[in-house]
């Protein structure tokens, strides 16, 4: 072993933070050193685009639609309630009215009678709006896929941003799904556009096929209708 002193030993290479430390004062806890604080450093302002700022805000303050359909809604309530507490992630304010909501969690099986109603509720939500499909039923119809009355996934009717698989997904899984949604929103990714085989149309505008002719006396021309083409659905 050489007796010569090591040449490489020098003072620490990290930048001096004296100014920042002085600004923050003594006794301030480490946990206040958020990423934002690091980004600010000693300077009290940042530069960003307004869009990016808005996306960041949107992702961190989401009002969820209080929307219970089936089994998954019980796990959804558990996600809002004590222990899992979705509010920790800035997404725990369930709103009963779609007009006040940003995010719709679709928790359960969608059947033919409910399809048009769900579309209506979705249409009533203000832009920008996001959808989390919760559970296997909203992906494909889940265990009820072969049912004569079951819509094969929520995406047949409304665009879905995040799919959370499971029957039902655990609250942790839903929290993860919501976090993923927040990530997407922060990066400015909007809802995907999908081909929707089921659309609400005015009954009078429908092609006069056998079924329409048969129902002509029962349905008002101005009524909205949804047509289910079971043979074409996945």
């Amino acid at each position: 072993m050489s007796q010569d002193p090591k040449q490489s030993i020098q003072e620490s290479a990290t930048p001096s933070t004296d100014t920042r430390d002085a600004r923050m004062g003594a006794g301030v806890d480490d946990r206040f050193n958020s990423k934002l604080r690091e980004a600010f450093g000693a300077s009290p302002f940042i530069l960003t685009k307004f869009d990016e700022f808005m996306n960041w805000v949107r992702g961190n303050s989401m009002f969820m639609l209080q929307f219970g359909i089936a089994c998954c809604s019980i796990e959804m309530i558990h996600t809002y309630a004590i222990k899992h507490d979705l509010d920790r992630f800035g997404a725990g304010v369930p709103r009963a009215s779609p007009r006040q909501a940003d995010v719709m969690i679709v928790p359960g099986t969608i059947v033919s009678k409910f399809g048009p109603r769900m579309k209506r509720v979705y249409d009533q939500m203000p832009e920008p709006k996001f959808v989390v499909g919760m559970g296997s039923c909203t992906i494909s119809g889940g265990p009820f896929q072969e049912g004569y009355n079951v819509v094969k996934g929520a995406e047949e009717i409304i665009p879905v941003d995040i799919h959370v698989p499971g029957c039902p997904p655990r609250p942790e899984a839903l929290v993860y799904g919501v976090l993923k949604l927040q990530e997407r929103i922060r990066h400015g990714e909007s809802s995907p556009v999908v081909v929707k085989p089921y659309e609400l149309e005015r009954f009078g505008d429908l092609e006069k096929d056998e079924l329409v002719q048969k129902l002509a006396s029962e349905i008002d021309e101005d009524d909205l209708v949804m047509r289910y083409n079971w043979a074409d659905s996945p």
Binding site: A70, I74, F114, E146, G147, V225, A231
Partner: protein, 549 residues
């Protein structure tokens, strides 16, 4: 087990045969009850006699089905005072003219059951007050559980009835009443229930629950599954408020009686133990959401009940591996034994039981002794016992109306007959009584769990048989028919099955307690204020998955 009431006298088969007399054209006995075949024109006549003379005051279920050569309607009758005294009335109709007399004038509960039969099978009922579709949209083409239904046909569903109820055209100008849609997306309807309400000022004049927004073809799914394994996952999804095991038991009991399988005693104790945990979880949710409905208590009560549900779900997860959809029962037993290390599992359960009395005390402080709560609940939503029986109400709804009826005692199954517990009834007939019944049932369930726990702890290690010997492919006898029920969290959950000799049921019919209970909503709310409608609906504790199936 509590001794309970004296049972009503049993009516023997000969007495029934004599009562029906010439009107019986044949016998068609089911595994659970004698069956009498009668003409479609004699339905009311025979049912009136059976109700008024022989005392069959409970029309538990109405099953409809199609054979290759005929339609058939079966009325499953029994007595509130003696559940094991059952009789089936079978009404065949021809394929060309499927018209049968309605049983609705005799049993009010037949109203919805017959509408369902019309909707799904296509049998029409004469004298029925309001025969229209109940589960499927009104514009639906065809009857899906009938033989020749083509599932790939396109269908149209309208949205007209969902127009804004506050628009001027929904005012009835002549009588000054207002039509109001409640639901299907509404926080107080506990799911996707749509209540068409007519109001006169603040008073409810007419209520018409519109169901079917969660009709996900459970009966079709079960008819497509094999008895042995494929049906068992579905019951979890009927009443999905963590009462999965109670529902699984309904199927397990029906198939075990049908195929004559004896369940080992040790498995019965585990079943009883876990089913009662489910009942606690289910009643906790009922309590929390009810408090939310009547006095907007989203903070304390709601969160406390969910905290306790989490504890129960944790225990059940340790046992079954799932939080909600347990799929733990098997035909002839359970899937596996208690988790190892057993001591830890017992300690966890015991901790829960030890803490429960203090929690119940807390709920009483928060809810039942709360003045606001009492103002909302005492003497609202009155359901007289006679009316409850007419509508086929069961479970906490019937017991809150003073009807002493609990299948765990009246039609014993599982390990209940060997345990010490009581059937809870209350005589207030109102929303408050129903809440009290549920809260006391939580304590009774805890008693049952405690006893099961002691039995399980002391059970000899070499005798832990969890599964009977069941053939890999179950094929019950051709044309065996059975109707069996258990006491689920909401009431009597019955299953009718008919075998055609294959490994899948030819007909699988679910008698859901919520379906019958919800029918009574009109009786409870008409003439009352609209806030009481919300309270009454909450106190019925319906689960739409089970109402619509």
């Amino acid at each position: 087990m509590s001794t309970g009431l004296e049972k009503e006298a049993e009516t023997s088969v000969d007495e029934i045969a004599e009562l029906i007399g010439e009107r019986a054209i044949a016998r068609d006995d089911h595994l659970n009850a004698p069956g009498f075949v009668i003409n479609p024109a004699d339905v009311q006549d025979v049912l009136f006699d059976l109700r008024d003379v022989a005392g069959y005051d409970h029309c538990s279920c109405v099953t409809a089905q199609q054979y290759a050569d005929r339609y058939e309607t079966i009325y499953h009758l029994t007595k509130y005072g003696n559940r094991t005294d059952e009789v089936s009335i079978v009404v065949p109709t021809t394929l060309e003219e499927p018209v049968s007399q309605s049983g609705e004038p005799v049993y009010r509960t037949a109203d919805w059951h017959e509408r369902e039969a019309y909707d799904l099978i296509g049998i029409e009922y004469e004298d029925h007050p309001d025969l229209r579709r109940i589960l499927l949209p009104e514009t639906w083409q065809g009857h899906p559980l009938a033989g020749d239904y083509d599932q790939t046909k396109p269908q149209l569903v309208t949205l007209a009835e969902h127009a804004n109820p506050l628009q001027a055209d929904h005012h009835d100008t002549e009588s000054e009443t207002m039509f109001l849609n409640i639901g299907p997306h509404h926080p107080a309807t506990h799911g996707v229930l749509h209540v068409k309400t007519v109001l006169d000022g603040e008073t409810v004049v007419d209520v018409d629950p519109d169901i079917g927004y969660l009709h996900r073809c459970e009966e079709q799914m079960c008819q497509q599954g094999t008895y042995r394994h494929q049906i068992m996952p579905y019951p979890d999804r009927w009443d999905y408020v963590s009462s999965g095991l109670l529902n699984e038991w309904a199927y397990a009991r029906a198939i075990e009686d049908m195929a004559d399988i004896e369940v080992p005693e040790y498995a019965q104790i585990i079943r009883t133990f876990s089913a009662e945990l489910c009942r606690i979880a289910s009643h906790m949710l009922a309590l929390g959401t009810f408090a939310l409905d009547v006095y907007g208590e989203f903070t304390a009560t709601f969160q406390y009940t969910f905290r306790d549900r989490e504890v129960v779900q944790d225990i059940l997860e340790d046992l079954t591996g799932q939080r909600m959809m347990f799929n733990y029962f098997r035909v002839g037993g359970v899937a596996w034994d208690l988790p190892e290390p057993r001591e830890e599992f017992f300690a966890k359960t015991r901790d829960f039981l030890d803490e429960l009395p203090a929690k119940v005390e807390e709920y009483n402080d928060l809810i039942t002794t709360n003045e606001i709560f009492q103002l909302r609940c005492v003497d609202t939503g009155i359901l007289e016992p006679d009316v409850a029986k007419q509508y086929g109400c069961t479970g906490p709804v019937a017991r809150g109306s003073g009807v002493d009826y609990d299948l765990r005692r009246d039609d014993p199954y599982g390990y209940y007959p060997n345990l010490e517990w009581d059937v809870v009834t209350e005589d207030g007939y109102d929303n408050y009584s129903r809440v009290l019944v549920r809260m006391q049932e939580v304590e009774e369930s805890a008693k049952i769990i405690q006893q099961c726990l002691e039995l399980l702890e002391e059970w000899p290690e070499d005798d832990r048989e969890i599964q009977a010997n069941v053939p890999r492919t179950l094929k019950p006898d051709t044309d065996a028919e059975i109707y069996r029920a258990v006491e689920a969290a909401k009431g009597e959950l019955g299953i009718y099955m008919r075998s055609d000799g294959t490994d899948k049921p030819a007909r699988f019919k679910i008698r859901s307690p919520c379906f019958s209970n919800l029918q009574a909503l009109g009786e409870m709310t008409e003439g009352e204020y609209i806030p009481d409608l919300v309270a009454s609906l909450g106190s019925l504790d319906i689960v739409l998955g089970e109402v619509d199936r």
